[in-house]
């Protein structure tokens, strides 16, 4: 039996990037805010101090900071003819766990989507004609434009102190930046990181082959920085332990380093950890939420009444909770009707590995997001006429460290063990590097999320079920992009080059990215979206999904976090400036 707690103005489900930003923005107005977080409290000094943060086995292999499947997982199948089976240990993607969420273990790659990405369907149909898009592709325009979001991108980057070089400031091209990016209202808060030899060689090869390399925008900071909340971040030491790790140097932007020290000072904010929200409660009309129910570690159920419910969990779990709470119409892939779970998308990545002659690359000197990149083949930055696909991605050198349990390149044909393997491993480590493409994943009628009919979580609730596979459009795109990258890699004069374009079927056991998008899509039409342009539920007006990647209508050729952060600020402004004055549907 749930025990009822005193009412709050706002209850936030999940205290990662979006939860922390919304909590800060709303607590600032004086609202009473409580954030309920499934995982533990985490902080630099106790969870990943420099005394032992650089532990590859613990963090990168045994996945100490990540969601444990016994807490929550999902089932997976490639298509509806298969029986979905549970992901018993995470490996293909790695949801975060605890305060800070995936904002702790990310690499810091801080990309904006292209202006045309926000009008994807109308842009592509306008340029190539309706027939250019596959019939089962369900991409759609965003309900916001790049111009509307630009100030919010700017705010999130200033929160993080992102290091980079602008390529376009208010329409003026800037030498050394990304010539394809949308306009920026200002330069990056901190200058670009220094580059190692591998990235420098890639950039030379890219220039030689007629491309425009630039430093990857990184929220691993090139210098110490005080953000607008008054929180100070440190300088990155290029330690090579970003991806899957917490930063012991306070140099990688995260809710811990950017928001929480300021947020926890508000007397009208509190966080409830190790407590999982099991349901959003609705009133008898089903059109208004009355709060949430959560379970603590003792098994005690609590009811937390609130006027506003903000769903700030990792994308999958926003979708699951919405389905379990009966908010919005579940998607039916047979009819194409319904919206919750629709337009699940991912990311399409590939690699080109090269071994150079007589080079000392020191590949362990790295950050999660340094490296030199080209954007010539992203989005619609290149003419797709006659190519047989739409979409694209960035590519370049972005090696995030060479921690040796997981990164030990050897020439092709080397045995996997024994004397030859040992010799090849020793002789190759210093002169090999991996180049990557990071490309879009458009949405399709048969790629979706729903509730699993068989498997249950620890509370007896159905697991979320993912049905997903790569489509021909994405595989053709990956082949094209990987060929372009291999051409550049050849100009690095390697002694060996192996190009590995993405092939189907999608394999949930091979790590690609944790960029799982869609399922609670924002849009202009309630028939094809769960949320309106302010990330507000069409059906239950006091429920918002303020910016998590589950709101993306499809995924573009960039990492999601910058857009997630921008949308969080966008939604926070809408709640503060519009919803509080007149609670009800904003559209």
């Amino acid at each position: 039996m749930a025990r009822k707690l005193p009412a709050k103005d706002v209850v936030i489900i999940g205290l990662g990037w979006t939860g922390a930003i919304l909590a800060y923005e709303l607590a600032k107005t004086g609202l009473n805010v409580v954030a309920i977080e499934r995982g533990p409290w985490r902080d630099t000094a106790t969870d990943f101090p420099p005394a032992y943060a650089q532990d590859e086995l613990r963090y990168a292999v045994r996945l100490d900071l990540f969601l444990r499947p016994e807490q929550q997982t999902l089932t997976f199948r490639n298509n509806a003819s298969q029986t979905a089976l549970p992901i018993r240990s995470f490996s293909g993607f790695l949801p975060g766990n605890g305060v800070g969420g995936a904002g702790i273990h990310w690499n810091g790659q801080t990309w904006r989507f292209l202006p045309t990405d926000f009008q994807l369907r109308s842009h592509l149909e306008g340029r190539y004609g309706k027939a250019a898009l596959p019939a089962d592709m369900t991409i759609q325009d965003w309900p916001v434009t790049y111009d509307e979001l630009e100030p919010y991108y700017d705010r999130f980057e200033k929160l993080c102190g992102t290091s980079g070089k602008a390529g376009n400031i208010r329409g003026q091209k800037q030498a050394g930046g990304n010539p394809f990016e949308g306009w920026r209202s200002s330069e990056y808060p901190t200058p670009p990181l220094k580059q190692g030899l591998g990235a420098t060689l890639f950039a030379e090869a890219a220039r030689k082959t007629g491309h425009s390399p630039f430093p990857q925008p990184a929220s691993n900071l090139s210098e110490a920085y005080v953000n607008p909340l008054g929180v100070k971040l440190g300088q990155c030491t290029y330690c090579g332990f970003c991806e899957r790790f917490g930063c012991g140097n306070y140099a990688k932007a995260s809710p811990q380093t950017c928001v929480l020290p300021a947020l926890l000072r508000f007397p009208n904010f509190s966080a409830q950890t190790e407590s999982e929200v099991t349901k959003i409660n609705l009133d008898s009309t089903g059109k208004r939420a009355t709060g949430v129910t959560y379970v603590d570690t003792s098994g005690q159920e609590w009811e937390q009444p609130a006027d506003i419910v903000l769903m700030c969990a990792f994308s999958f779990f926003n979708v699951q909770l919405m389905l379990l709470s009966g908010i919005g119409k579940p998607y039916d892939p047979q009819t194409g009707q319904g919206v919750v779970g629709r337009n699940y998308a991912y990311q399409t990545t590939s690699s080109v590995s090269v071994i150079l002659k007589d080079k000392i690359l020191n590949p362990f000197i790295a950050t999660g997001a340094h490296g030199m990149i080209i954007d010539d083949y992203n989005g619609d930055n290149f003419d797709h006429t006659g190519l047989g696909f739409v979409g694209g991605g960035y590519m370049g050198f972005g090696q995030t460290g060479a921690r040796p349990i997981q990164t030990r390149p050897v020439p092709k044909g080397t045995p996997k063990w024994g004397a030859e393997w040992k010799k090849a491993t020793a002789e190759t480590y210093q002169r090999a590097c991996s180049l990557a493409t990071h490309a879009s994943s458009y949405s399709y009628k048969d790629c979706y999320l729903d509730l699993d009919p068989t498997y249950k979580d620890r509370f007896g609730r159905p697991l979320l079920r993912m049905t997903f596979d790569f489509h021909d459009n994405e595989l053709k795109m990956s082949a094209y992009l990987t060929d372009r990258l291999a051409e550049i890699a050849k100009a690095m004069d390697p002694v060996e080059l192996v190009a590995s374009p993405r092939k189907g079927p999608y394999d949930s056991t091979i790590y690609q990215t944790t960029h799982n998008t869609g399922g609670t899509v924002m849009g202009a039409d309630p028939a094809t979206s769960v949320l309106n342009r302010y990330c507000q539920s069409w059906d239950v007006h006091n429920v918002f999904v303020p910016g998590g990647a589950s709101v993306f209508p499809q995924n573009h050729g960039y990492n999601p976090t910058d857009t997630v952060g921008a949308l969080a600020y966008w939604a926070a402004d809408a709640i503060r400036n519009r919803y509080l004055k007149n609670p009800g549907p904003l559209v």
């Binding site: 005193p6 103005d9 004086g30 009473n32 409290w41 902080d43 106790t46 969870d47 420099p50 032992y52 532990d55 045994r62 499947p69 016994e70 997982t73 199948r77 992901i87 018993r88 240990s89 490996s91 220094k194 580059q195 190692g196 030899l197 030491t237 290029y238 330690c239 012991g248 926890l264 007397p267 009208n268 509190s270 966080a271 409830q272 950890t273 190790e274 603590d296 570690t297 003792s298 005690q300 006027d307 000392i360 020191n362 362990f364 060479a402 040796p404 349990i405 030990r408 996997k416 063990w417 024994g418 040992k422 010799k423 491993t425 020793a426 480590y429 210093q430 498997y455 056991t509 509080l580």
Partner: protein
């Protein structure tokens, strides 16, 4: 809508929640209410616990002998440095199997267990510890039956390699065990032990890091990031430090 603009103290709620959680007790992770400031307390960090030399904690003596022989073929000693046995790979695997990894702690282990496509991942109820126990038993039976009653450790290195290759390819069929899957697990754990921080019992004297030129837990390369093509000058360091940093009595 009762969006109050006063900064209402939440202290009463806090106390009431804290009281509710006071008697929870047994699990390490406990629901907490945080408010007012960052909840730093002394002694709450969770540093790794160093593996100590000593008796086997998971393997029987016979199992350990087989694993020590196998890891020394997977990573043989040569003029570049020691092999799997002398770097402690078997000790590493033993301690991992005796701990949370061996018990599949934290994984989703609810039934039903059904076979699936390779893209759906491991779908059996057996933990890593159970897989080693049954795998090593089946291997011992196979060797006994095919090599005149011998054990894996008694075979000549060439024969040991032949057996390992047969397991890797699946051409050797073990009773009730998928040989290729068992081999893949053994190889992955051996290489984890060889390359992980020495604090976990393998990679003794940071031998693997010296082999490839990885400096370990150095943590600050600001003065070397743009010194292109120059070898990094300092020797590797572990989370535990280096033996030559320790004050000798």
């Amino acid at each position: 809508m009762s969006c109050t603009t006063s900064l209402q103290p939440t202290r009463r709620l806090l106390l009431c929640s804290a009281a509710a959680f006071f008697f929870v007790g047994t699990t390490l992770a406990r629901a907490r209410t945080l408010a007012g400031s960052l909840p730093w307390e002394a002694g709450t960090a969770t540093p790794p616990v160093a593996v100590r030399p000593g008796p086997w904690m998971f393997f029987t003596a016979d199992e350990a002998a087989v694993v020590e022989a196998a890891v020394d073929r997977l990573i043989p000693p040569d003029n570049r440095g020691p092999g799997g046995k002398d770097t402690g790979c078997a000790v590493f695997i033993d301690r991992q199997l005796a701990g949370p990894y061996g018990r599949a702690e934290g994984l989703y282990t609810r039934p039903p267990f059904m076979p699936g496509a390779a893209t759906q991942g491991y779908q059996l109820p057996d933990s890593p510890a159970a897989r080693y126990r049954t795998g090593l038993r089946a291997l011992a039976e196979y060797i006994k039956g095919n090599f005149a009653g011998k054990s894996f450790r008694d075979l000549a290195p060439g024969d040991q390699d032949t057996v390992l290759k047969g397991l890797e390819s699946g051409s050797i069929v073990l009773k009730d065990v998928k040989s290729a899957e068992f081999f893949a697990l053994l190889l992955a754990n051996t290489q984890e032990g060889f390359f992980a921080d020495p604090i976990y019992g393998g990679n003794r004297d940071m031998a693997s890091w010296r082999l490839i030129g990885f400096p370990g837990a150095r943590y600050d390369y600001r003065d070397w990031v743009d010194r292109h093509n120059e070898p990094y000058p300092l020797p590797p360091v572990s989370i535990m430090g280096r033996s030559d940093w320790t004050v000798k009595d």
